[in-house]
């Protein structure tokens, strides 16, 4: 009886190991949508553009002892997923992270230290804006996978109808052009906006403002983050520059960048990932309608950018396997390009931050939309990686909207923002 029980246990162990029980399992958390994970498929279900899943299948074939599970969580829920997984103890091994969240994750010891060879590759192979995005307290905490910045997106047809053959180059030109592109209904409501912001989303409010702030020679914080500089002359002028568009009737707080594809918005400041929505909105008219140019500047050309980087959880039981996969996916040459670069350029529609990928995927990145963003990388200032970044961003958004609504002057709004932000900085940096 005893002998047969031992035999049974051995057989079970063998069977379990063959069935994958003995594999190294990695959980990979991303915020991407279905087609970005599963791949773009034709009508017959055949994959025409690879998604993350196909790369992982390829890696698993090369490394049969590794099994990778993708956990895709919508962007709005992504940070909560990280928080809750840490509280419950069911963590992911690999994350794709928004740079703004980095400081708190690093301060809380959530991220694993990046191996030295990976750090040196990031420093040598990636564009500066992306390296800055993955850098927290002078250390690199992951491999950048996506860099995004902002540019002026305009409706060529609406501009031509109003007699403009070129987009504005300076902010003053934009302020002069925008009212001429605005049309009103008989009741006074705006039928077509010369320029549109978006009130309800922090990035759509704060990023264009930061772009103008940098363009005006200012910056939001002291370099050591001990003080908010939003009451500086440059910062107030930058917000006043935005307010000119509200005062001259070219826009109002009800405007929305999401109406651009309906042809009711002449100009807006937007990121590269909006390309697909514009193509779907304008269909055959896309190329004849959509134009992209650098953000009209105040004193010097500048835009703002943010980064997503891939990192490993410090509590992962399979850190080595996780970093091996990251090396293969983001750094290893796959024929003149990296696999992550291919995924970004061909499927996700974002700018890959690896210089090699930018050079390789010319066709994808040199189209009428993305090329302007790629060119602007040299003028891109990375959104600061600061403690309580999301909280600070929300505060600034709310105060800017107060000014947009005429409830505060630019100076009052930024004074109030500074007071609240300085309290946070005092808590974390003094």
């Amino acid at each position: 009886m005893k002998r047969s029980l031992v035999l049974l246990a051995v057989v079970l162990c063998v069977l379990l190991s063959f069935s994958g029980f003995g594999k190294t399992k990695l959980i990979f958390a991303v915020h991407w949508s279905d087609y970005q994970v599963e791949g773009v498929k034709d009508e017959n279900g055949n994959v025409v553009v690879k998604g993350l899943k196909q790369y992982i299948e390829e890696y698993q074939k090369l490394n049969p002892n590794v099994e990778i599970e993708i956990q895709s969580v919508p962007f709005d829920e992504y940070l909560k997923r990280i928080l809750i997984s840490h509280t419950s103890g069911v963590i992911a091994d690999i994350y794709v992270l928004y740079s703004l969240w980095g400081v708190q994750l690093v301060d809380s010891g959530i991220l694993d230290e990046v191996p030295k060879d990976v750090v040196s590759k990031v420093k040598s192979d990636f564009v500066k804006a992306a390296v800055d995005g993955a850098t927290i307290d002078k250390a690199i905490w992951g491999v950048p996978v996506e860099v995004a910045n902002y540019a002026l997106v305009y409706n060529k047809k609406l501009l031509q109808e109003a007699g403009f053959n070129e987009p504005p180059k300076t902010w003053d030109e934009l302020v002069a052009m925008a009212p001429k592109l605005t049309k009103r209904n008989p009741d006074g409501t705006v039928a077509q906006y010369g320029f549109a912001f978006l009130s309800g989303w922090d990035s759509a409010v704060v990023h264009p403002y930061l772009a103008l702030l940098y363009s005006n020679g200012g910056k939001p914080f002291k370099d050591d983050f001990t003080e908010c500089l939003l009451t500086s002359k440059e910062a107030i002028e930058a917000l006043e520059a935005e307010l000119k568009l509200f005062k001259n009737g070219a826009t109002d707080p009800a405007a929305s960048v999401w109406n651009f594809p309906t042809g009711k918005v002449a100009m807006m400041i937007m990121a590269p990932w909006y390309e697909t929505a514009l193509k779907l909105g304008f269909k055959d008219e896309y190329e004849a309608t959509v134009g992209v140019a650098p953000i009209p500047y105040l004193k010097k050309p500048a835009t703002v950018g943010y980064t997503w980087f891939i990192a490993v959880d410090s509590a992962s039981k399979n850190k080595k396997a996780a970093w091996d996969f990251i090396r293969w996916m983001t750094l290893q040459d796959a024929g003149g390009f990296t696999r992550m670069g291919e995924l970004m350029a061909k499927n996700i529609g974002s700018i890959p931050p690896n210089k090699k990928d930018i050079a390789f995927f010319k066709e994808e990145l040199n189209d009428l939309y993305t090329s302007a963003f790629v060119k602007e990388l040299e003028n891109t200032y990375q959104e600061p990686n600061i403690a309580q970044g999301q909280e600070i961003k929300t505060i600034l958004m709310r105060e800017i909207i107060e000014a947009w609504n005429g409830r505060k002057t630019a100076e009052q709004a930024l004074n109030d923002a500074k007071k609240q932000i300085d309290k946070i900085l005092e808590e974390f940096y003094k």
């Binding site: 928080l83 708190q104 009741d187 409501t189 309800g200 989303w201 009800a254 929300t394 107060e402 609504n405």
Partner: protein, 307 residues
């Protein structure tokens, strides 16, 4: 007799003991459920509200800050502002919902096709609040929304329903009242069915018209129902999250932010679990105080209702 009681006493005590044990045994699942899903989270939240914790590190590593989160919130203009918004929302939605539901219930009670009317008014109650918020968001659009189209027909100026800071909260209140009428109406209708017809017949003989009947028979006899609706309405309204969150994201600053929304944002965007928990406890205190106040006011009016 004495002998009888001596022999019966221990038996009774034993029986009582056995019954007590059985009682606790039967109560155990409910008590266990209550402890796990109510007592534990409440105690845990209370502890969290005295810490500076971002959920990314174990709670044991979080720094204790005493009751500083409470003092911060009670002096924070933002929190006091959202408390004010929630108070306006609660007072307006509860009072308007009950008054309109009462009038409609009385009108429908004796109307033809009353079941159909009740069904129509009840439909929003079974519709998710997020769906209601999204659909009403379209109705409130400044350019092509239904309400501004109607205003235009009468030559009136359009209203920025959800983006004007002076209007946005009231726009959301209108939606909440519309969504809440059906449920209140159904409960009032049940209350109306319990009022004997004799009272109305007697009042008619005495010459009382419909208005006198309404104010002297219907309203007083519905008072326990109205007390119930007021108390539960306020408890729900103080906790409101979904409608303002869905409809008010484009509203300026914090003109429509409610306490629950503030707590959510503080916890999951600002990663300040301690402050968020303190906010939740302050909300609990407000709701508790408000409910006691309502019960006291009704009692002063001679209505004891649900005891």
């Amino acid at each position: 007799m004495a002998g009888l009681s001596e022999t019966k006493g221990p038996v009774r005590r034993k029986k009582l003991k056995t019954n007590t044990g059985a009682g606790y045994a039967f109560l155990a699942p409910a008590l266990l459920f209550y402890s796990i899903f109510f007592v534990y989270p409440v105690v845990f939240s209370l502890i969290v509200s005295t810490k500076r914790w971002n959920m990314l590190v174990p709670l044991s590593r979080a720094r204790s800050v005493g009751f500083s989160h409470y003092s911060y919130l009670l002096s924070d203009q933002v929190f006091l502002g959202v408390l004010r918004n929630t108070l306006i929302y609660a007072l307006a939605t509860v009072s308007l919902t009950i008054v309109i539901a009462l009038i409609l219930a009385v009108l429908i009670n004796n109307a033809k096709l009353s079941v159909l009317w009740r069904f129509i008014y009840f439909a929003p109650v079974v519709t998710p609040q997020v769906a209601i918020g999204t659909i009403w968001g379209y109705l409130y659009r400044p350019n092509n929304g239904l309400f501004n189209s109607i205003l235009r027909l009468f030559g009136m100026k359009p209203v920025y329903w959800l983006t004007d800071p002076n209007v946005a909260l009231f726009s959301i209140i209108i939606t909440a009242v519309w969504a809440g009428i059906g449920g209140s109406m159904l409960i009032i209708t049940a209350g109306l069915k319990n009022i004997p017809q004799d009272y109305y017949d007697a009042a008619k003989i005495d010459g009382a018209g419909p208005f006198r009947q309404f104010f002297y028979i219907t309203v007083p006899l519905l008072s326990p129902t109205l007390l119930f609706l007021t108390a539960t309405g306020f408890i729900g309204a103080w906790q409101v999250f979904d409608l303002p969150f869905t409809m008010g994201r484009n509203a300026p600053a914090r003109s429509v932010m409610t306490v629950s929304w503030y707590v959510y944002e503080t916890a999951f965007q600002s990663l300040r679990m301690g402050r968020a928990s303190a906010g939740a406890f302050l909300l609990f205190c407000v709701i508790f105080g408000f409910t006691l106040l309502i019960l006291w006011l009704f009692r002063r009016g001679g209505i004891k209702g649900y005891e």
